[in-house]
């Protein structure tokens, strides 16, 4: 996992809680807490930190990841505003995730393993987003979608129709306007 995600997680804890809590979390998972945005770190380390956050704040894994996803969108947008700013609306933005944003990620790091995102527009006007990743961070993706909707100033209804964690081949979201 890219170091940027760890840095964003630390920022979120420091912004919303206390620096000391972050130190307690990294101590508990045995991390030195030294994260550099452009380097790669073990996925398990991120999962351990998220687990520790959940346990200390009495949150479910899904809620914690969803909350972090929303924060992560803003964090990433501050660093790379061109991706969202170049799109007219939420739909065009999410449609560009795989073909534009993940492509740029791969240009900078050919070892990166971004998720596969496919956006489908159904004949009834519904938008479906298919998420597929070996990391199974669909709740983080959900939070990112909410963050993107906030950015474009729209309210969305998100419904997860199926999940890889429950045996489905891909995680599928129905995105409707609230």
């Amino acid at each position: 996992m890219k170091g940027a995600v760890f840095v964003a997680l630390q920022d979120m804890i420091m912004d919303e809680f206390e620096l000391d809590l972050w130190h307690q979390i990294i101590d508990a998972v045995g991390s030195d807490g030294v994260y550099t945005a452009t380097l790669n770190y073990d996925d398990q380390e991120l999962m351990a930190i998220v687990g520790e956050i959940c346990s200390r704040l009495s949150l479910s894994r899904a809620d914690a990841l969803r909350h972090f996803g929303r924060y992560l969108f803003d964090f990433l947008h501050r660093g790379h505003p061109m991706f969202a700013d170049s799109k007219a609306d939420f739909h065009s933005f999410i449609s560009s995730i795989d073909g534009v944003i993940h492509l740029e990620v791969m240009k900078l790091d050919d070892q990166a393993r971004p998720p596969k995102i496919e956006v489908q527009t159904r004949p009834d006007g519904d938008t479906r987003l298919l998420y597929s990743s070996e990391r199974n961070l669909c709740h983080l993706a959900e939070g990112l979608l909410i963050g993107a909707a906030d950015h474009f100033g729209i309210n969305i209804e998100l419904e997860q129709l199926c999940c890889r964690l429950e045996g489905a081949e891909v995680c599928e979201f129905r995105i409707g306007k609230a």
């Binding site: 206390e18 620096l19 000391d20 130190h23 030195d32 807490g33 030294v34 994260y35 550099t36 380097l39």
Partner: protein, 306 residues
């Protein structure tokens, strides 16, 4: 943990993260530099290949044109030459016949031969006809030499694969030229032991001969030409250096062009043929010159140790 201690710890963590980032930046910069170097090398090789391809294409076009021209010129030139030889015999015979007639005229009427000869300017006509034929023969011989030169452009794959010692080739070329030299130019040999070249020694001898002739023409009366051979890396380098007039900068780009010459009666194909032969042997030929000081032509050929 107090707030101050917490911030001090965080400061240390951030310092370490910054050092990591700096190390990564350095590594990436180095990688970028190396990739840039590799790209520049590749670009330079591509340009060289492109120039070589253009040159080969140009040579092939010249070859095609030359083959056609050589054929078209050679045939009429051959019968003009043959006719001139017959004409020369006829003029000799006619001159003899006129002399016989004049003698007979004098026997019949003393002094009539001189008057007749004077009236028709016979002495001048006989002499001038002979001179004109002689000049015409020389002209056709020159055409023949040019056509022979053109043949080298139309034969692009005839280099052969014989292994030969370039030093022997150089020595025999100098020996051959010594009989043709009109100027008092001293040729100094600085030949090192080098591996064999692959190709056609006769053609290579022609290429070197043309360069040596060109160098000797750069000296009005006398001078020195140095010819050297040495192995540099995997290449055999043959350098022909003269202390002649040198080449003006504006003429440098044209010296290998066909029919370009500043020295009459040269036909301007010598260096063009040399370059074509060197290229047929997968070699390179370059020229550097300082007007008033001299010129150096360098041939680089792949050695058979490659």
């Amino acid at each position: 943990m107090s707030s101050l201690e917490s911030y001090q710890r965080e400061l240390e963590i951030q310092r370490r993260a910054r050092r990591l980032a700096e190390t990564q930046l350095e590594d990436k910069s180095r990688e970028l530099y190396q990739k840039n170097q590799a790209l520049e090398t590749a670009l330079s090789q591509l340009k060289e290949q492109q120039e070589l391809l253009i040159a080969k294409e140009k040579q092939a076009s010249i070859g095609q044109l030359s083959a056609g021209l050589a054929h078209e010129i050679n045939n009429p030139n051959a019968f003009v030459q043959s006719n001139l030889e017959s004409l020369h015999k006829y003029v000799v015979q006619l001159t003899d016949a006129i002399h016989v007639l004049l003698e007979k005229m004098d026997k019949l009427d003393a002094g009539s031969a001189a008057r007749f000869s004077s009236d028709f300017d016979l002495n001048f006509l006989v002499q001038d006809a002979s001179d004109l034929i002689q000049e015409s023969v020389q002209g056709t011989q020159r055409i023949q030499r040019i056509v022979q030169g053109l043949r080298y452009f139309s034969q692009t794959d005839h280099k052969g694969d014989k292994h030969f010692d370039i030093n022997i080739c150089i020595i025999s070329t100098i020996e051959l030229l010594s009989h043709e030299q009109e100027t008092q130019v001293e040729i100094i040999k600085q030949l090192s032991v080098v591996p064999d070249c692959a190709g056609n020694p006769t053609l290579m001898s022609l290429a070197i001969g043309n360069i040596l002739k060109n160098a000797s023409q750069s000296h009005p009366r006398s001078g020195h030409i140095t010819i050297s051979s040495q192995l540099v890396g995997q290449e055999i380098q043959i350098r022909v250096t003269d202390d002649g007039d040198g080449i003006q900068p504006q003429d440098m780009a044209k010296i290998f062009e066909p029919f370009y010459t500043t020295k009459q009666p040269s036909h301007g194909l010598g260096l063009t043929i040399s370059r074509a032969i060197v290229r047929q042997h997968d070699g390179h030929i370059d020229c550097s010159s300082h007007p008033g000081e001299g010129t150096e032509i360098c041939i680089r050929l792949p050695s058979t140790t490659n």
